[in-house]
Each structure stands twice: as structure tokens, then as C-alpha cells.
Amino acid sequence: MKLYFKYLSMLLKCQMQYKVSFTLTVIGQFLVSFTTFLGVYFMFSRFNSVNSFTFPEVLLCFSIVLMAFSITECFVRGFDVFPQLIKSGDLDRILVRPRNEIFQVLTSNVDFTRIGRLMQAVLMLIYAVPVSGIIWSPDKVITIVVMIIGGIVMFSALFVLYAGISFFTIEGLEFMNIFTDGGREFGKYPFSIYGEGVLKFFTYIIPLALFQYYPFLYLTGKSGNIGLIFLPLMGFVFMIPCYSIFKYGIKRYKSTGS
């Protein structure tokens, strides 16, 4: 753990060398998600609700997803740019070192500019919490925390899966964006609004709805089933197959030789 923080501070210092570029990128990251927010806002200035979800409720959902995603993108960035590690041959360097390879991939890249997105998420949460009409009893607070943690685990699992697949093919990888970037982009609304088929897909195949939609029902009081709070923890279960694919990929990995 101490080593991890050492790496973090090194990477932070590294990125802080280019202050103007760093600041502009942070502002840019903020703007990107801010325009998405404006899109939602404009929709709700025309329509009062969507599938009985109100604007503050959707904002709450959006901010939880965005928060989980931006934290993941910041700290699990190494897996996001993993194909480059393979291409450049840096993976070989990682494999010969006497340390866990997951740890090393994690520390190979941390993107602090994602703070811009995180800021947007925090602002939306601060706005939505008082106006959402939810009575903030301890169980609701726990729900939000569990949702964010579950979300981080789910998105991390998807990034690990992405890295795992890149051992086998580089060409088809763009498809994975539907689940990572798409999960963030479409997760701004509870998955139920896209219809039953989509909800089922995000429940059983890519289980993003487990941290987003189901506990959200409990949070907004649309369901009284307290068991829904713990569904996001299924992210840890989802991590198992994703990690196995990654492990399998590493086992049969042959260097690119560069």
C-alpha cells in the first residue's frame, strides 16, 4: 500500500509538470460532462418526468454513475490503455518484475484530469440530495455509498475485461465502448426507461443495472425491499469472470517482440 501511494505521488507530480495543459484538460473534462448535464436539463425543461422519475431523481442517478465512472477512469486507467502496453512491449517489463501484475498495471497510469468529471458529479449530488424529496435516513445514505462502491467495482471489472480481450484482438475493441462509455452515457437515466429488453441485458449480461437501477428504486422509495441495497455488491461476483479472462490472456501471452 505504501508503494502504491509512492507511485500515486510520482504520477501526480509528473502530470503537474504541465500545469496549463492539465488545467485546460480538467476544465475540458468538466465541460464534456456538463454538456451531458445540459442535455438532460433541456429534456426536463420540456418534460416533467420520464417513467415517473423526476429531474432531481435522474440527477441523483446520473451523479452516482458519473462518480463511480470517473473514479474508476482515474485509478484504473492502466487497464483502459492496456492495449498500448501490449503494443509498446511495456507489458514484458511488467511481467519480469517480482510484483503482482495487476498492481503494476494499476500504477502504470493514473489520470488525475478526471477530477473534472468527478467535480461535475459531486456538484450534481450536492444539488440533488436536498431537492430530491428523499428523507435521508441512515439506510438511504448507506444505499448511496454502496451504489458508488458497487459502481466502481463494476466499471473496474469492465475495464479488466476490456484489457483481457485485448490479448486476443485489438480490432474489435471499439465494441466494448458501448459498455464502458455507453454505461456512463446511458446510465444517466435509470436503465428501466430504455424498455424491458435493455433492462434485462444490463441485469443478466452486463450487470450495470444491479448497482444503478435496483438499489435506486429503494433509494427513491419506489420499492420497499431493503435487500436491494446489497445488489451492487454483485460487482465483486462479476469481477470473477472478467478477471479470469484477463488471467487466461496473460497466460497465453506472447510478446510482440518490440
Binding site: V20, L24, V32, F47, Y194, V198
Partner: protein, 267 residues
């Protein structure tokens, strides 16, 4: 002229090589368009009367947007140009008896067009086969259909003319990352890539339509869907031409100024 055509050809053929990647891209765009439509469908069912377009019009808009994404995606830049400026390789380009602005312009056209051609047909065909009201239909009348073809080309040129300004800005900043991401989000939003411009609040719309960003993908797609007709079509196309001239002239002038004081990086 001939040299620019051959630049175009080189880049175009290069772009046509990535076929497997194109299939993944098609699947991604298809899912993206579908999810977007389902999202709008949910809103549509909650308040049909507040919907600024008819639903079939929106379906047409979304599918055209996905099919021609490669022409209008604002986040795409030719990294060779940025690398050239930062590494100093630009010096070689300057030695050639060609106009740098025109060459970059043609290169950008070629890359985007080759990607579009690889991707558009499968999306158009599958989208046309979807059930009503999610399907893609033919334009409402011939006049709109013909105007669309002219307008999409104009919009394409406006987008590239605008992104040229960002390439040129790299001469001044030498670190284009921040400006790239800033300009990308601004273009995407005001061009109607996040939500179509008719969904913007009414008070903002006159300003939105006057900005150069509306002359990119917004105008041709709205013409195709039949959201704007008759005299409005002519007027918005005239606006496209105006912006194109303004952007081209300012781009050329800026380039001249930048090249006068260019510092070649590295040795």
C-alpha cells in the same frame, strides 16, 4: 490541383484498410443510436405534445447522425499534424511546393470520407428495416432530398474548416490537448450531437441556429427529416455557405500569420 488529389487518394486508400475495425464501429454506433432512440421514446410517451419533432423525424435524424458520424465527429483529429508541429517535422512539409492549409484540408476530408463510406451502408440498410416509428425513411420530398446532398457536403466542409483553426492553434500553444478537448465538447454540444437542436429551449434556439456549429450536422439532417422545408431550406444553406467562407478565410489568414513566426521544434 493534381497533387491535392493524390494526397486525397493516399489517405483515402489508407483509411479503407481498417475493415474489421469498421465492423466493430458499426455495431457500436448501431447500439448507440438505438439506445438514444429508446431514451427519446421514453420521453415521447410521457409527453407527446411537448415533443418538438415528430417521432419518425427524430428516428431519421438519429440514424443519419450515426451513419455519417465519421464525417462530423468533432473529437477526431489527424494526430500526424499535431505530432508534426510538436516534433518539428513540419519543416519538411514547409519545403514542399504546396499550400499547407489545402493539404491538411484535403487529408482530413479523405480520412473522414473513407471511414464514412466503410460504415454508412450497413447502418442505413439495417435502420431502414427497423419497425415503425424507429426506422429510417426516405426524405419527405425530392427537393429536400436533393438539398440534403448539397447541404451535407457543405456541413462537412464547415466542420473541417473549423477544425483547421484548432490545428493551427497548435502553432501557438504547442500543447493542443486542452484546446482539443475544450473545442470538442463545445462543437458537439452546439452542433446538436448531444441532443438535436430542436430540443433546446425555444429562447436559445435563434442564437444556436446562427452559430457556425449549427451549420455542420444540424442543417443537413434537419433538411433530410423534413423538419425544415421550402424557403427555410434555402436560408439555412445560405448560412452554411456564409460560415464556410468566413471560416476558410480566417483559417487561411491565421495560417499565414502562424507560418510567418513559426518556430520549428527540435533539431
Amino acid at each position: 490541383m493534381r497533387k491535392y488529389i493524390s494526397f486525397f487518394k493516399i489517405r483515402f486508400i489508407e483509411g479503407m484498410q481498417y475493415r474489421a475495425a469498421a465492423w466493430a464501429g458499426i455495431a457500436t454506433q448501431f447500439a448507440w443510436g438505438g439506445m438514444n432512440l429508446l431514451m427519446f421514446w421514453a420521453f415521447y410517451q410521457n409527453g407527446e405534445n411537448s415533443f418538438p419533432m415528430t417521432f419518425p423525424e427524430l428516428s431519421n435524424y438519429i440514424w443519419m447522425q450515426q451513419a455519417f458520424l465519421a464525417m462530423f465527429m468533432a473529437w477526431f483529429f489527424d494526430n500526424e499534424i499535431f505530432d508534426g508541429i510538436m516534433s518539428g517535422n513540419i519543416a519538411y512539409e514547409l519545403c514542399r511546393p504546396i499550400d499547407l492549409y489545402n493539404m491538411w484540408f484535403v487529408k482530413n476530408m479523405a480520412i473522414r470520407l473513407s471511414r464514412m463510406i466503410l460504415r454508412c451502408m450497413p447502418i442505413l440498410i439495417v435502420a431502414a428495416l427497423l419497425p415503425y416509428p424507429f426506422n429510417l425513411t426516405l426524405p419527405s420530398n425530392t427537393l429536400n432530398g436533393v438539398s440534403f446532398l448539397v447541404s451535407i457536403f457543405l456541413g462537412f466542409l464547415v466542420l473541417i474548416a473549423f477544425s483547421m483553426l484548432i490545428y493551427i492553434s497548435a502553432f501557438y500553444t504547442l500543447s493542443p490537448k486542452g484546446i482539443r478537448i475544450l473545442s470538442t465538447s463545445v462543437i458537439e454540444f452546439f452542433a446538436g450531437a448531444v441532443i438535436p437542436l430542436p430540443f433546446f429551449p425555444e429562447t436559445l434556439q435563434p442564437i444556436m441556429y446562427a452559430l457556425p456549429f449549427a451549420s455542420m450536422q444540424n442543417t443537413p439532417f434537419l433538411i433530410y427529416t423534413g423538419y425544415i422545408t421550402g424557403f427555410e431550406v434555402m436560408r439555412s444553406m445560405l448560412l452554411q455557405v456564409t460560415w464556410l467562407i468566413i471560416l476558410l478565410t480566417s483559417g487561411k489568414l491565421l495560417m499565414k500569420h502562424a507560418l510567418k513566426k513559426v518556430v520549428v521544434q527540435g533539431g
